[in-house]
């Protein structure tokens, strides 16, 4: 769990009301999966050669998978996890990309139960930041083996994250 970075109450950006209101205004927790976001996660997994990719929207107490591919069955059915199991929450808190080469040794995530029980090993997440400067979540990829991410791979993920964010911004006008 990412408890080492957790703070209580209003100081934690995860619980910021303006950010949560932006998530609501953009309709990002709808059950329907946006086709463009789905294409984006599939392209992310394919181009980085990893089994799993998702657009994760980090809410106050859980993350919501607005689009996903390659998740373990229970995560796909739940469409999310408790926020204390969210790697993406770290990117939301800092506003910076969060990269994990080996989750079993990374101090911020090694104690999250899905690392051992669902074999999460490597992770790279790019923050999804709105035009109003709210960080909603990430476009991220996950693998079941340790991995070093090259600069080119992270650049690819950034490009796809911008594509996802452009689509999310379009939702304001729909």
């Amino acid at each position: 769990m990412s408890g080492e970075m957790m703070t209580d109450g209003a100081a934690d950006p995860i619980r910021d009301n303006a950010r949560l209101a932006e998530i609501a205004a953009l309709g990002l927790t709808a059950a329907e999966v946006d086709g463009v976001l789905q294409q984006t996660v599939e392209e992310a997994a394919s181009r980085l050669g990893l089994p799993t990719a998702m657009v994760s929207i980090v809410m106050d107490e859980a993350q919501w998978f607005a689009a996903h591919t390659g998740l373990p069955a229970w995560m796909a059915e739940a469409r999310g996890t408790p926020v204390e199991w969210s790697f993406c929450a770290n990117a939301v808190r800092t506003g910076e990309p969060f990269v994990v080469e080996d989750a079993t040794t990374h101090p911020l995530v090694k104690n999250i139960p899905i690392v051992d029980l669902d074999n999460v090993r490597c992770y790279a997440g790019i923050p999804l930041v709105t035009s109003t400067r709210q960080t909603l979540g990430t476009l991220c990829v996950i693998g079941t083996e340790p991995k070093s991410f090259s600069q080119a791979e992270l650049d690819t993920l950034r490009t796809l994250a911008k594509q996802a964010m452009d689509r999310i911004e379009e939702r304001r006008r729909e």
């Binding site: 609501a24 809410m59 106050d60 107490e61 859980a62």
Partner: protein, 107 residues
């Protein structure tokens, strides 16, 4: 573990072994809502969601928590997001607890 609220005594479901996840309680939901919209509005949102779900306001089963969370998730704005968080937490608990229970019974 036994939890008592008002005159209702409830067996709180145990955490899922390995994952350590327990389902959210009405107290958790009220605390999340109060943090988002203040304690007075939180109480009103909770009571309204319980009424719409046909559930009691305390001593809820996991299924009742799911229904009430779903009603909260239908609300606009921050309350809806908080409700959706609760939905994910209850759904995750049910899926993992069910999977653990099936694995145990097949041994």
């Amino acid at each position: 573990m036994i939890r008592t609220q008002s005159t209702v005594t409830v067996h709180t479901p145990p955490p899922v072994p390995g994952y350590g996840l327990a389902p959210p309680t009405p107290g958790d939901a009220l605390a999340f809502l109060a943090r988002g919209v203040g304690p007075d509005r939180a109480a009103g949102e909770w009571l309204g969601a319980c009424k719409r779900a046909g559930a009691p306001t305390a001593g809820l089963s996991v299924d009742e928590m799911m229904r009430v969370s779903g009603r909260l998730a239908e609300q606009d704005g921050v309350v809806g997001v908080i409700g959706q968080s609760l939905v994910v937490r209850v759904r995750t608990y049910r899926l993992l607890a069910g999977s653990f229970s099936r694995a145990e019974s097949s041994r």
